[in-house]
Symmetry: C2
Subunit: 228 residues, 2 copies
């Protein structure tokens, strides 16, 4: 069996073991047994428990990022892009519950260097979403620059006239919206992962409506749907 294939098997076993038992409690013996290989081989390939855990985080991060990127349809209408991106995210999480558990629970709660790896993924997703929102506003019906400044006494730095993204929405606010959206998706994915009676479609629909129509829209029966 080629090294690459064997290594992926070890990572599969490690991701599942870390997710189920937790980083601290999971032993290299457990992981070798789950992978059906000897412990020395795990050490030979992945060096140490810390390196193995880091490799797991990176693989799961890359896979999640790739799933979201692949789901977005460049050039589609903004709401469709958002719908597809969110669906890509929630579907990947639903299909990879162990990977998600490693990312959101294990990697973030065992200090450095693991937390930094997850932060990197988060930064990439925020950048992706920031680009999508800026792009959407640049094609918006009402140019975002026409939108009044956020707060009555807001700082000059958030003046729509300064540091604007294409279309006119202040860059600061585009980035803030992206952080809000990524945080909402993350929080919802943590809640819904493996929850009986809630599918990836349900989570996507809830968040799509929240992010797109807003609570006011929902309360007034204005609901977004993919078929509209």
């Amino acid at each position: 069996m080629p090294r690459h294939v064997r290594e992926q098997q070890m990572l599969d076993a490690a991701v599942r073991t870390f997710a189920e038992r937790g980083y601290r409690a999971a032993s290299m013996d457990d992981i070798a047994e789950a992978a059906g290989v000897s412990k020395p081989l795990v050490y030979l390939y992945l060096n140490s428990k810390e390196d193995l855990f880091t490799a797991c985080i990176r693989r799961e991060s890359d896979a999640l990022e790739a799933a979201v990127r692949a789901a977005v349809e460049p050039g589609a209408a903004p709401d469709r892009q958002l719908w597809k991106g969110l669906h890509g995210f929630f579907s990947h999480v639903a299909d990879h519950p162990y990977g998600w558990a490693v990312l959101h629970r294990q990697a973030r709660t065992h200090g450095e260097p693991f937390a930094a790896e997850v932060q990197l993924l988060r930064d990439k997703l925020v950048d992706l979403v920031t680009g999508l929102i800026a792009d959407a506003f640049s094609r918006a019906a009402v140019p975002a620059a026409a939108v009044p400044a956020p707060a009555p006494d807001s700082d000059p730095a958030s003046d729509p006239a300064s540091g604007s993204a294409p279309g006119g929405l202040p860059e600061e606010e585009v980035a803030a919206l992206a952080h809000a959206l990524v945080g909402a998706a993350e929080s919802l994915a943590i809640r819904e992962n493996g929850r009986p009676g809630r599918s990836a479609e349900d989570a996507t629909s809830t968040l799509m409506n929240f992010a797109w129509a807003g609570l006011d829209g929902l309360m007034n029966g204005r609901r977004w749907s993919p078929d509209r």
Copy 2:
């Protein structure tokens, strides 16, 4: 000086020290020095570094929860309640940057029992927001039960007819919206804490518009404002 006052001084010093140096690097010597007391007194009052850290997390959790609860105006219009609650949250975070750093960064990245303490705070905030959203929908112009089910192929568990909150929106979806909103607020607060040129009002306004008007509203110039 009464014990209670002395203890609060120690906690003030500890919160700041943990926030600035991190849980691992902060020593009881650092904390005693910052509090202007002897190290044995810190041990006498707070027992151990772990107990001291736990006491810090609990104090900051309680203060944040109390600030949000105090900010909400019972009986006010739903958008005003949301605006006030978010403003209470972001203002408290802006006024307590060390407390927030302890909660979102230190407490969550150093395993148990600390992560569980922060989870407790999160659960309380989600419950509070769930109640507010359910209440808002129960008074909505269009009863939420009239809103079509989320996804074409959605599960019977999310059928609006079953397990409805007052007003008709499925309980599952109200709770999911609350998780999304709390996650968005948390993510934005992490980004904005101490960010130059962004005030608590800016963060509140951004998230209020996101949560209330949605991206579609923003793109079409429908922006919520407290003065409308």
